[in-house]
């Protein structure tokens, strides 16, 4: 077992792990893939951003993100209402996919990160840490809130000609949530978790 070696994920070339200077990036010598980055104060920053994310997640889903006004009729919608409507139209496959990529995955990511990082912050190992953290890594590509955000913008443009569209508070917290979660993922250095496992 060698902690001082790292193999490139994209071409398998072996490298010796070297300490990086401030905000440096280590790239594969052969194919240029990023091997690892230096992340300052990773645990605290990720934890702070994740807690902020949890608050924003609740707001983003509890309130309607768009309302449409047309000739006296007002129609509001939340993310979950869209899923419910798809389900009502017998599109349960689509409903499940949208629910999974824009609601369940972000929720699992946020709560999972808190489950892993809070105990680590107080020098404890959470129960079944390797399994949970591995699961969080695997689920990451399926969180697609930023794509959903672009979808909201397209829908606004599309409907703006039919009726007046009123953005709700959830829309702003949605936008903030995307930035906060992206920040949390960018400041997380997985090695702070894996190295802790190696010690025990």
């Amino acid at each position: 077992m060698t902690n001082s070696l790292i193999a490139c994920h994209h071409c398998d070339l072996l490298h010796r792990v070297q300490p990086l200077t401030n905000s440096g990036v280590a790239q594969c010598m052969r194919c240029g893939t990023v091997l690892y980055r230096r992340k300052k104060d990773s645990l605290n920053r990720t934890l702070a951003l994740t807690i902020a994310g949890l608050i924003l997640f609740v707001i983003a889903n509890a309130y309607p993100f768009l309302a449409m006004k047309s000739e006296g009729l007002v129609q509001e919608t939340t993310l979950l209402a869209g899923v419910k409507e798809l389900y009502a139209q017998n599109m349960w496959g689509l409903a499940a996919l949208v629910l999974f990529t824009t609601f369940l995955t972000p929720f699992i990511q946020i709560s999972g990160m808190l489950y892993v990082l809070l105990p680590l912050k107080f020098n404890r190992l959470p129960w079944r840490l390797p399994f949970i953290f591995r699961f969080l890594q695997n689920i990451q590509p399926w969180g697609m809130m930023e794509v959903f955000m672009l979808g909201i913008l397209v829908a606004i443009v599309k409907l703006a000609k039919m009726a007046s569209i009123i953005p709700g508070i959830a829309l702003y917290s949605f936008a903030a949530l995307i930035l906060v979660l992206a920040g949390a993922m960018a400041s997380l250095d997985p090695d702070i978790v894996w190295d802790r496992l190696g010690e025990n």
Binding site: A7, H10, C11, D12, L13, V98, P130, K158
Partner: protein, 212 residues
């Protein structure tokens, strides 16, 4: 450069997919494998059956790509009239109403990205099977792009979800998701899995074999 490239494979080491630990793996069913000693993930030197799995998924996605583009993706009822739209007619609608930036976004996300992804993966698979030596850097980069852009194809699905929830003005107007939406979602999900099952290290493996 290729002469002194020492890979984990050559050194009989395995790099854990999950925690990046490079370790001397036990023999498992004739290959190096088993569980990572640090995090417990299953170890593989290369993704299992990468080429045939990726081929299967690419072909499946190509098949679904046809109904996704031919069948209607939304059914709009407005004052009793039902209008069905395909992906392409939705793009054309945006061009004719003057919002061409939106038309461009949808065209790229729904038509260009899935097709480009399938073509790139097909090209990479063929180049692997022919043990091509052609530009390994660029092929790795192509793979990296393919992996990164796939998620944006979900755009149309989300637009439909929002429209369906919002446009419920009774007899005045309502929007329903059409059958193509399901096929299109299948294309997106399958191509994401296809990109995941492709192993770019195979590109570099065939570079090495000719230098030995």
């Amino acid at each position: 450069m290729a002469e002194d490239s020492m890979t984990a494979l050559k050194a009989s080491l395995v790099s854990c997919h999950s925690c990046n630990l490079v370790c001397r793996a036990p023999l498992f069913r004739g290959k190096l494998g088993g569980a990572c000693p640090r995090c417990g993930a299953v170890l593989h030197q290369r993704k299992p059956n990468s080429i045939s799995r990726t081929w299967a998924l690419v072909i499946a996605a190509l098949i679904f790509y046809i109904p996704a583009n031919v069948l209607p993706i939304t059914l709009t009822t407005s004052l009793g009239k039902i209008q069905s739209d395909t992906i392409m007619s939705g793009v054309i609608y945006f061009i004719t109403t003057g919002s061409w930036p939106i038309a461009l976004v949808i065209f790229i996300a729904s038509i260009v990205v899935p097709l480009a992804k399938l073509l790139i993966l097909t090209f990479l698979l063929i180049s692997l099977q022919r043990k091509s030596q052609w530009r390994p850097h660029d092929r790795t980069r192509l793979y990296r792009i393919t992996e990164a852009v796939g998620r944006w194809s979900m755009l149309d699905i989300y637009v439909i979800t929002i429209l369906v929830a919002l446009v419920k003005l009774g007899a005045l107007a309502s929007i329903e998701a059409g059958p193509a939406a399901l096929y299109f979602a299948a294309v997106v999900v399958i191509t994401i899995f296809a990109a995941m099952s492709f192993d770019p290290r195979l590109i570099w493996d065939s570079m090495e074999k000719n230098h030995d």
